[in-house]
């Protein structure tokens, strides 16, 4: 159990999403950055769909009522445990009575806090993800508030120890990102020059960028005739272009259907870059082949498997092992000492 001391700017409980109900108009929701979310769960030995806390731009702080293994991944929000810096992309033990405090994001936009066992809120239509617009899932369908008490579930699948993620698996968040796209389903509603424009230009993320979608600004993408279509389904990453010619990239909380032509879609493995980008950051698009997209998905899957293997304990912790949190030059470490 732990308590929300300060909820931050916009913190919600998310899992891998509410799949299976888009035919009923129910958005998928779920973690915006599936990679950071998944790695945070891996680092604490959780199942792939255990619920975690997604924080946006300005992090939250929590007081722990019991000792707990936790992991922080994604945006670097300068986390401090009882005033001492803790490493991002790592799992560490929070002692009973300790306070974990996050600040504003110095890199990235969204941070994930996973606790061993996952967050215990009722599952709604098979998911614990919060979809605030319909007040569904998470904690009463809303963002966290001061004083919210969070319970821990039992969604573990592996024995793990505190430790840092190998640096090879830590993504770098840039001010200027390139997203790979596949064209379709309505790229034939755009002129050839419009597709050139999309692929050759730089777009800037506007202030209207949230869990639902990211509105970009840049050179106009012209339609051959109309911008409107008979509404059809919207996948994560779909690039909608209304009549004004500025792209909108649909994200986790997108409506299930939309009525604007979609020139293409950002490939799944690249969406984390956008989920971690902030208003003012620059976006470029690059056309990729389906083979490249599937290979990227395969590589992402492989990373999860490698990480899961690398964090398994070398041997089972015996009764003789004691764990200490120590501080060296204002940086916190978890140390295990084994008595012979």
């Amino acid at each position: 159990m732990f308590t929300t001391i300060n909820p931050g700017f916009f913190s919600t409980i998310q899992d891998s999403g509410r799949w299976g109900y888009q035919a009923y108009g129910m958005p998928v929701a779920g973690a915006m950055d599936r990679y950071a979310y998944r790695v945070a769960n891996l680092l604490v030995g959780n199942k792939a769909n255990a619920a975690a806390i997604e924080m946006t731009l300005l992090g939250a702080s929590f007081k722990f009522d019991e000792s707990q293994l936790v992991a922080l991944c994604g945006a670097d929000m300068q986390a401090k445990l009882d005033g001492v810096s803790v490493k991002n992309w790592s799992a560490f033990v929070v002692q009973k009575g300790s306070e974990l405090k996050l600040e504003y994001a110095v890199t990235g936009c969204r941070a994930y806090l996973a606790v061993r066992g996952g967050i215990d809120v009722p599952s709604v239509l098979g998911s614990r993800s919060t979809y605030t617009r319909a007040k569904v899932g998470g904690l009463e369908g809303r963002a966290l508030r001061q004083g919210d008490v969070l319970n821990v579930a039992n969604d573990t699948e592996a024995e793990v120890q505190a430790g840092n993620l190998k640096v090879d698996y830590v993504p770098q968040y840039e001010q200027s990102i390139t997203l790979r796209i596949l064209l379709g389903p309505q790229d034939d509603m755009f002129t050839a020059e419009a597709i050139e424009t999309l692929l050759k230009s730089e777009y800037v993320i506007t202030d209207e960028a949230d869990r639902m979608g990211y509105r970009l600004e840049g050179p106009k993408i012209a339609h051959i005739d109309k911008a409107d279509i008979v509404s059809d389904a919207l996948p994560f990453g779909a690039i909608q272009v209304p009549a004004h010619g500025m792209p909108i990239i649909m994200m986790a909380d997108r409506q299930t259907t939309g009525g604007y032509a979609k020139i293409g879609a950002v490939i799944g493995p690249d969406l984390l870059k956008l989920a971690q980008a902030k208003p003012g950051n620059e976006v470029r698009f690059r056309l990729c082949s389906e083979e490249e997209a599937v290979n990227a998905l395969q590589a992402e899957q492989q990373s999860y498997e490698n990480i899961a293997r690398s964090i398994q304990p070398q041997k089972l912790v015996s009764e003789n092992v004691r764990q200490f949190n120590i501080v060296i030059e204002n940086q916190g470490y978890t140390v295990q000492v084994e008595e012979y």
């Binding site: 996948p235 779909a238 490939i267």
Partner: protein
């Protein structure tokens, strides 16, 4: 595949499109294929989203190649065409009856719709509740039905300025469309009544009362009945009347 087009929607999405316009024939092909694919229970198919005139199939390209999925869909479409030609298949759709109170307190725009069309308020209610409407698809908000088939005799333009907050259950008209709001939301529809039922209720096991491909028919009720049904809905004991519609 005659008249069927396939498109990419990212590396995990395949769009199967039967046409570019809104009509019953195209929409029924969409729902038939969605049902056929669902019945296959293929684990590599993650989710199917049927809409007006196409369906989006989410699949896992690491366990099934796009080409394999396309072959499966082609086979399904061929067997469906054969079944239809041999007359084996009878199309049966459900009509879900939605109680609606058209009384003044729930119908701020009923008078406008009546005056706009030069008929009485009772006539608007009569026309609105006399035919079943096809649910072409659900979208916009959880459980929101896009309905087709409303009589042009009760069509009315949207409000110039949308209302900031429309109560859940509000039944409205926008142009030649009708429908109702499952959850409280902003909107510019002309409101002619309210239903006590919840098209989406996350608190009960059967969270959605109807699916795309079903028909809805509105049934006028009194204010008293509205409150009685609302109590049953809140207690989780209400289920709407469902009848069958035989299509020729």
């Amino acid at each position: 595949m005659n008249g069927v087009e396939l498109f990419h929607a990212g590396e995990q999405g395949l769009v199967v499109e039967f046409g570019k316009e809104v009509n019953k024939t195209i929409n029924s092909k969409v729902h038939k294929l969605a049902k056929g694919l669902m019945a296959k229970a293929n684990k590599a198919i993650l989710e199917i989203v049927p809409t007006y005139r196409s369906l989006l199939v989410y699949f896992d390209p690491l366990s099934m190649k796009r080409e394999e999925l396309i072959t499966q869909i082609e086979d399904l479409l061929i067997s469906e065409t054969q079944a239809l030609q041999s007359g084996e298949e009878k199309e049966i759709a459900s009509i879900v009856h939605i109680p609606v109170c058209y009384q003044d307190e729930f119908a701020p725009d009923l008078k406008f719709v009546a005056e706009y069309n030069g008929i009485s308020a009772d006539e608007v209610v009569g026309i609105h509740s006399s035919t079943p409407y096809l649910v072409y698809m659900l979208g916009f908000t959880p459980g929101f039905p896009y309905l087709g088939g409303m009589s042009p005799r009760i069509a009315a333009p949207r409000l110039d300025k949308p209302r900031v907050q429309i109560p859940a259950g509000s039944v409205g008209i926008a142009g030649s469309q009708t429908g109702f709001y499952p959850i409280e939301s902003p909107g510019g529809w002309r409101l002619i009544g309210r239903t006590p039922i919840k098209a989406f209720n996350s608190a009960v096991a059967n969270s959605f009362l109807f699916s795309a491909g079903d028909y809805l028919q509105f049934k006028p009720i009194s204010v008293d009945e509205f409150h009685q049904i609302r109590k049953q809905v809140d207690a989780g004991t209400y289920s709407p009347e469902v009848t069958e519609l035989q299509r020729g």
